[in-house]
């Protein structure tokens, strides 16, 4: 494994068992997280972003989830094969995770301090006062100046933004190599959202922790990510540096997503929306998954599934038959 990568998903296939039927939700997803980068994972609701991230930590509920023919390399350990004990040593310690809902992600019945200390003491053998100092230090580093007081407060005494900061502190307290953030700002209002984004960027620069940043907001990706992966229907459809993908999107789905970001400077009468909706997982379909919604679809798109083609040296890749043509075919180039 290349030492530039902290995590490599070699391949990932996830299905769900429902009423004896097996429904495929993630199909041959593969990507790498590089050391120190912020990698964005975008896609519409239901495209499989959350289950991809949960499978890294082995937190998918099974049943109903079934993971087959998959390999996720973290250093030399395959996280799919790892035992529960091995995973417990990694979770919250070397790979940690924060979630969308700061209002419900903290246990309402324990103090912030209790929940923070729990993480530290689980993974590091420290005295009580040392652990306490680390917690307070971490709370301060996420911008909670009243750290000492907050240690003794309950989640309901904090605002949504503060709770998300607490969640970030909890995730960062053991200085993980990877932080997975599943839509950490979606539930927050806009000003708080940009504060949290700034904080995550700062932490990434200061500590060198790699971040897998899941969102459906391309504006957020442009703001903080280095690279971006676009998912559609349980597949990766485009991958590349933020610059490449935003300047020169190759997949019609990515173009659609970019077009549907509201732009103040370029006032449109109506907001653009990709027609149709994400296919239900399990709906059997030949050819490209996006073809039914794609304005450029040709006959071949309904027949065969396109390969994931590398387009540039630095890893801009896309899964589309029109890779060459698309660029010229659209009017609204960014």
């Amino acid at each position: 494994m290349n030492c530039d990568n902290v995590l490599e998903i070699k391949r990932l296939n996830i299905s769900f068992m429902t009423d004896k039927k097996k429904i495929n939700a993630i199909n041959n997803v593969a990507f790498k997280i590089k050391k120190g980068e912020i990698l964005g994972l975008v896609g519409e609701s239901g495209s499989g972003k959350s289950i991809t991230s949960l499978s890294i930590l082995g937190l998918l509920p099974s049943p109903p989830a079934v993971i087959e023919e998959s390999e996720i390399l973290f250093h030399d350990l395959d996280l799919i094969q790892a035992s529960e004990q091995q995973m417990q040593k990694i979770r919250g310690n070397r790979i940690s995770m924060i979630f969308q809902e700061p209002m419900t992600s903290l246990n309402p019945l324990y103090t912030v301090g209790n929940q923070l200390l729990e993480s530290v003491q689980k993974h590091q053998s420290l005295s009580k006062s040392e652990a306490n100092d680390i917690c307070i230090h971490t709370l301060k580093s996420v911008g909670l100046a009243r750290a000492e007081a907050i240690m003794n407060e309950y989640p309901h005494q904090l605002s949504g933004g503060m709770r998300q900061r607490v969640m970030i502190a909890m995730a960062m307290v053991c200085q993980p190599e990877i932080l997975i953030a599943d839509e950490p700002t979606t539930a927050l209002d806009v000003t708080i959202q940009s504060q949290i984004l700034k904080l995550m960027k700062e932490l990434n620069e200061k500590t060198g922790t790699s971040v897998l940043f899941i969102t459906h907001d391309l504006g957020v990706v442009a703001e903080i990510c280095h690279r971006v992966i676009v998912m559609y229907g349980g597949r990766i459809v485009e991958e590349g540096s933020v610059l490449d993908v935003f300047k020169n999107p190759q997949h019609p789905y990515t173009r659609g997503l970019l077009k549907s970001v509201p732009d103040i400077r370029n006032k449109q009468d109506k907001l653009y929306a990709i027609p149709g909706s994400v296919p239900k997982p399990g709906s059997i379909q030949k050819g490209c998954y996006f073809a039914p919604r794609c304005e450029f679809a040709k006959d071949i798109c309904f027949e065969n599934e396109p390969e994931f083609v590398q387009l540039t040296e630095d890893g801009h890749r896309s899964r589309c038959f029109l890779n060459e043509n698309v660029g010229g075919a659209t009017k609204n180039d960014k």
């Binding site: 919250g92 310690n93 903290l106 246990n107 309402p108 019945l109 689980k122």
Partner: protein, 335 residues
């Protein structure tokens, strides 16, 4: 918190007053006259009238009720018509016997029921879950007298391991201190008697524990199962905590408020004197005491006995309400 508690305590007064009124009239509605019962079938009319007057039962009802309340206000529970003993003295050993039985039964019910519920939720749809929930369903539907008789038949008569009835070995009686025999025998350092008392309490406490145990197991399973889907459980797992800590620390505490409510109600019910169980197992508790008092139309004993039970019932409810606040910091007792 303190002022809330005092307020709640004061609000109990009208409840208990209402209780006295209801009981006062209900027992007088039961056909039969205490004097008649005391003197027997062949007593003369004059003798009965004389005794009725002596007992003060010929006075107008409101005078009787007022006198009763006046005594209560002085914390005087009255005297038994039958034994002439002070009720507050006489009832004590019976109350203690019921407390002891209730405590042991609830202890068994909570330890077994709550844990069975937790494990069923943790490993839901496993064979343990199916077996435990089937047993719980059976437990809820079993008639308690039948269960008691089966216990006696199996463990006393067939196997001869445990005594059928009573609270102690009558040939080796316990010298009471608190009347809680498990405690008293230990205080006196009489291990032989302690073992004896334990043997006596096993069968009735298991019979009594069955229903609360089954209710708690089902209740705990469903609330823990619900809580396990919460976001903070996923957070706890993402921290790398052991499943045991996730379940017993993070899930259980959140599931505990409904569990506590059930525990409170069940303790209240058991304290009311589990008359059936006490009768089958010859357990000298308040249930039996009141049952006898009703047979003798011993009005003061019935009145005061019911009042005491009602008092403990409402007190337990109050304690449960206060415990909510200890479990959940979001519950504030401001009013």
């Amino acid at each position: 918190m303190f002022s809330y508690t005092t307020k709640r305590l004061f609000s109990l007064i009208p409840v208990l007053l209402g209780m006295t009124l209801v009981v006062f009239f209900i027992i007088r509605a039961i056909p039969g006259n205490p004097a008649q019962v005391i003197l027997g079938q062949r007593a003369t009319k004059e003798a009965i009238e004389a005794l009725t007057e002596q007992l003060g039962l010929n006075k107008a009802w409101y005078i009787q009720y007022f006198n009763y309340l006046k005594d209560l206000a002085h914390l005087d529970l009255g005297t038994s018509l039958r034994t002439k003993a002070e009720i507050s003295q006489e009832i004590f050993p019976y109350l203690a016997a019921t407390f002891e039985l209730t405590f042991v039964a609830m202890f068994i019910a909570i330890v077994v029921g709550v844990n069975a519920g937790i494990i069923s939720a943790w490993f839901s749809k496993s064979w343990f879950d199916y077996v435990a929930m089937l047993l719980a369903l059976v437990g809820i539907s079993l008639p308690i007298f039948w269960l008691g008789l089966m216990e006696q038949w199996t463990f006393s008569i067939q196997l001869g391991w445990l005594p059928t009835t009573g609270r102690e070995n009558v040939r080796n009686p316990v010298e009471a201190i608190t009347n809680l025999y498990l405690l008293d025998t230990l205080l006196r350092g009489r291990m032989d008697q302690f073992i004896d008392v334990v043997k006596h309490i096993i069968l009735p406490s298991f019979a009594l524990a069955t229903i609360p145990m089954a209710i708690l197991a089902r209740m705990t399973r469903s609330t823990v199962l619900e809580v396990m889907n919460a976001d903070y459980i996923r957070t706890a797992r993402a921290k790398g905590l052991k499943m045991f800590v996730v379940v017993y620390k993070h899930a259980l505490k959140n599931a505990f408020i409904p569990i506590l409510t059930v525990i409170g109600l069940q303790i209240g019910l058991l304290l009311g004197g589990a008359i059936l169980t006490e009768t089958i197992f010859g357990w000298p508790g308040v249930g039996r005491y009141l049952y006898d008092a009703i047979a003798y139309r011993d009005y003061p004993v019935i009145q005061s006995g019911v009042l005491i039970i009602a008092f403990f019932f409402v007190m337990i409810n109050l304690i449960v309400d206060l415990l909510y606040g200890f479990i959940d910091p979001r519950i504030k007792y401001t009013e």
